[in-house]
């Protein structure tokens, strides 16, 4: 029996557990003023990054409509050319941007009103026919498994209308996947609130 075969027997997924309330000094310590470094933060761009700058902001609400102040939000996205920085995306005709990694992390406890705020760019459509979107993963106390969703942009009306994932989403819930566009004095801002339960419960995907 090869080593590979012996390894493959009896390996089952490790169960997920909640992130708990006290993760900040481990996962986003700079943002929360602890003496430790962090691997990524809310800002995905530098001056050299290509693409249209935007802020992606929002709050997380529990089933009573109370703002969750101890959530951790992570985003992952393609660059302005629609390419992911990853070996599984080897499409060389779409250029990588040396100034864009595509991953961000932000807690909701750092601002007074429980907001997450990411500074990033609008991704290019990652496939022909897809509307642009950003992947979002949310962790919090009381959540034994994290949740995953996608943020689409409400001003991409034409692209959204034909996007395969949006098109398959129940009509009444589609709005929960759309970030609302607003031009502010500080630039383009999209608001994406996440509702864990209730009438506006966000569509979470089975990833």
């Amino acid at each position: 029996m090869s080593a590979r075969q012996s390894l493959s027997q009896g390996h089952f997924q490790s169960p997920s557990q909640t992130i708990g309330p006290f993760f900040h000094y481990g996962l986003n310590p700079v943002e929360a003023n602890y003496p430790h470094t962090q691997i990524a933060n809310h800002c995905l761009v530098s001056e050299q990054t290509q693409g249209e700058r935007l802020s992606l902001t929002g709050r997380v609400f529990d089933g009573k409509g109370v703002v969750v102040e101890d959530a951790l939000v992570e985003i992952w996205q393609a660059n302005a050319a629609g390419r992911y920085r990853h070996p599984n995306d080897a499409r060389s005709q779409r250029a990588l941007d040396p100034h864009f990694q595509g991953f961000g992390r932000c807690g909701t406890g750092a601002s007074d009103d429980g907001r997450f705020v990411f500074k990033t760019i609008k991704p290019g459509p990652d496939q022909p026919g897809n509307a642009p979107f950003i992947s979002v993963t949310v962790f919090m106390r009381g959540l034994l498994n994290h949740v995953y969703t996608r943020v689409y942009f409400d001003d991409e009306v034409d692209a959204n209308a034909t996007d395969p994932v949006l098109s398959r989403t129940e009509a009444g819930r589609k709005v929960t996947l759309l970030a609302k566009c607003c031009n502010t004095p500080d630039g383009l801002e999209y608001t994406f609130d996440i509702h864990m339960q209730g009438e506006q419960e966000t569509v979470f995907f089975d990833l």
Binding site: S8, Q13, S16, Y34, F204, F205
Partner: protein, 233 residues
Amino acid sequence: MTGTSQRDWKSQPPYLDQGYKSTALRAPSQSLVKIDPELAEMTGPAFGNEVVGALDHDLTRNGRVNGEPLGERIVVTGRVLDEYGNLVPNTLIEIWQANAGGRYVHKKDQHDAPLDPNFLGAGRCMTDEQGCYWFYTIRPGAYPWGNHPNAWRPNHIHFSLFGPTIATRLITQMYFPGDPLLAFDPIFESIPKAARNRLVSEFSLDVTEEGFALGYVFDIVLRGTSATPMEVD
């Protein structure tokens, strides 16, 4: 194109758990919506040694101010694998935990056990080419929490892993063998019975360092991926 395995609900806790009260208002009430993983879900961030400091794997040293941290020194080591039996090399692990007295450095931890000025309780490392990782730390203490009367969390270390794609992301907790609090902990008990022991580390005399630290082995199994790179539009 994708070979990402699904979330295995025989291994994973439910979102809503009667015993763990905070799930009541935070668990999604609607079913998860099926999605066919696309490039977005078959890719994810990759981190390298640039995010790991020289002492980040050694929590007995990375928070020192004027002396050594209090408590029982331990070694925590293991392999990261996927469900298909592949080792997962060069992947980032982040950990955080309470100190020996059961107190987190976190500003909102109200437990009146003492902080240890020489212990932060946070660290990280990369798995090596064989998927192995290695931490030195202090055995964390148990601490009370407000879930129900006389509720105590068993000793545990929080683990955060990325794996190769965002579909393999995992945040979990490592427990210790023989901890009597496990049977009373709704977070641990939320896991399907057959899968619970996967989160209990094993004591190992082989890993134990003579005269220095007890050794615990904790293997972690991520979801499997065998995606073929996408080369054309």
